[in-house]
Amino acid sequence: MNSFDVVVIGAGIIGCSVAYHLSKAGYTVALVDKGDVASGTSSRCDAVALICDKKPGIDTEMGFTSIQLYKKLAKELSFDFEFSSRGSLYVCETDQELEIANYYVNEQAAAGYDMKMVDGKELLDIEPYLARDLAGGIWTEVDSTMNPYLVCFAFVEEAKKYGLKLYSNHEVKAIKKRPDGSVEAVVTDKAMIHTKKVVNCAGVWAGKIGQMVGIDIPIKPRKGMVLVSEKTKPVVSQKVHEFGYMLSKFEDINYSRNVSKVVEENNIAFTIEPTEAGNFLLGGHRSFKGYDITSENRVMRGIAERALRFLPVLKDIACIRSYAGIRPWVVDHLPIVSDVEEVPGFYIASGHEGDGISMAPITGRMMTQLISNHETDFNIDRLKFSRYKQSSQII
């Protein structure tokens, strides 16, 4: 009979990390996915772990710790996932943006994070191909890049050494509960897997899994398109993005850029990052389009338009491909890393939106601590699933 201590649903970067950390801690673990490893969001995203795109507080703290964990993992895991600490650069188009950025940096610096302001001239010393009329920016050395789907593969390979069983191409159809409401088994289209503990790492599909145990997980898919350049000269040497990225990520910041209709309507902000293979990934874009991951021409053109504004050198460089992914969005931009009181044995690690890559190691670690009844690295009260119940009561 198939029986495991824990069944992890979803073999994206969060599920792979959770499965790895649990396996390493000595649990018998099954990792179940309706497709292959990294066949969803984790192979349709960008490739960075950042702190500089996070709001000050637990967000930044966990991000920073996660990057430190990546550094260790890059040494420990036998599978190379193309990790490197390249740093990242925020660019501000106007003095007004620079002002907001300055305020933000001061707050982060006060919390002890190494971010510094650079002026327009220093920007060009760091990235000489940038447009010459930019006001300045923020430079962070800690920010790192890796190949997200290779991270997934690396976690799975390593976890297999500790006995992980991978059920790929198994679509979860139901979760059986005992009369007392606790988890009994995960039923896929091909097998019944017995367990007392289930971790829902299904990301944008977490809501569907939640429904199987009768809970409502308020995660919405938020689409993001990425353009891939040809292999070309090093037009940038690190992640570079416009400060407006923050403004497109968080709806609550009140600032409007002087941009075209296409850029505005599609919530486009310039981002570019080099890959190990010598191509560049360009973004970014956010929109709610359900589960649709088609490449939209208007968005492609908007991303290119915005990219040319900041990096005119791209004019004669070819875009060879595009892709779109859907990210698990939650209203308060903090992931759910939590148990579920109503369903004993059911846990959730989802809702990281664009931070899944950054947050995977720390999420896997804390989920393992949670399941083992150990104290978690951070106080994760704010990540509890029950926060949504409270808020809906308030409303």
């Binding site: 292999k231 010598g278 004669d316 070819a318």
Partner: protein, 98 residues
Amino acid sequence: MTMRVEYHPVLGNLENQRRITIYFDDQAYQAYEGDTIASAMMAEGVKTLRYHEVSGKGRGVYCNIGHCFECRVRVNEENIVRACLTPVSEGMRIHSLS
């Protein structure tokens, strides 16, 4: 030596072709008006149009109809084009990629 098919038993002979000069990696070559970069270079016996960006190995015309992008070259400092789909013009400066 030219590789032109000047005489052809069915298609007839090539007559009154207008000759133009093009430059490939700064060397001058004769081409016929109506040539693509690929046919002009092949007529002159130049088979290698590009060097693979990682391995540095030579590449030339493979599909000749724009599908494989093996024959891409740089024209006039900026544009990367497929040699097989790009007509030559007088004084055109073509550069191999590497």
